[in-house]
């Protein structure tokens, strides 16, 4: 079993829809959670960075963390064709030593928003 599970999709939605992207994880030591967006032929772009359980909002994006269920989500409201990309969840522990700074990624979900 992978430490982080993310449905690769692909996910196709109409413009204006609310998109829900999710990751589950098994390592309870994960404390910090990120969502990255990666366009084709580009590097991952940091969208959201969260630590505590609960919601964090930034414009049309809301990140949700439920540590008790080991489940994180990213919601995109009023989705646009420009949101079409691969979305990667990533997480890390608070451990030091050889794990320090190491991110564990999900497989990525391919999202297409069609006009």
């Amino acid at each position: 079993q992978k430490e982080v599970e993310q449905d690769p999709g692909p996910l196709s939605v109409p413009e204006g829809a609310i998109v829900s992207l999710n990751c589950t994880y098994s390592n309870s030591a994960f404390q910090y959670f990120m969502w990255y967006r990666q366009y084709s032929r580009k590097g991952p772009e940091l969208l959201m960075y969260t630590y505590s359980s609960g919601n964090k909002e930034d414009g049309r994006f809301t990140a949700q963390v439920d540590k008790s269920s080991k489940y994180i989500s990213l919601f995109i409201r009023d989705s646009q064709p420009s949101d079409s990309a691969t979305y990667l969840c990533a997480m890390r522990t608070n451990a030091g030593g050889t794990s320090y700074g190491k991110l564990t990624f999900g497989q990525g979900t391919i999202l297409t928003v069609h006009p």
Binding site: P8, Y32, M34, Y36, R41, K42, G43, P44, E45, L46, Y49, L88, A90, N94, T98, Y100, G101, K102, L103, F105, G106, Q107, G108
Partner: protein
């Protein structure tokens, strides 16, 4: 455009060549990273530098040799690569190793 700049954007090399990838950031970040990403896969960590010192080497073959000459620059020296090393090589940086990482757009490497 990202604040982490990688050059070249594309590189084609033979298995006997020696080449280098370059990464630069001017955000004052003291942690820098190399990742390898294959198509439709997430990035895989290769190396982590913290304050210009190598802190993590994820058992990467010796044909990949990282170098951090100063706090703004990170190089990846390549020698005698194999066709399976063809991938997108991403550089990232963060203020410190426990801070969010910011990626460059990568170098797309093809080994003939």
């Amino acid at each position: 455009d990202t604040e982490v700049t990688q050059t070249p954007k594309h590189l084609v090399m033979g298995m006997t060549n020696k080449k280098s990838l370059k990464c630069e950031q001017h955000m004052g970040h003291r942690a820098m990273y190399w990742y390898k990403q294959k198509a439709k896969k997430p990035p895989e960590l290769m190396f982590v530098y913290s304050y210009e010192k190598l802190s993590i080497n994820e058992s990467v073959p010796s044909r990949f040799s990282p170098e951090c000459p100063n706090s703004s620059l990170l190089n990846l020296h390549l020698h005698a690569l194999q066709p399976e090393d063809s991938a997108l090589y991403l550089c990232a940086s963060s203020r410190w190793v426990d801070q969010p990482q910011h990626f460059g757009d990568g170098t797309r490497l093809s080994i003939l």
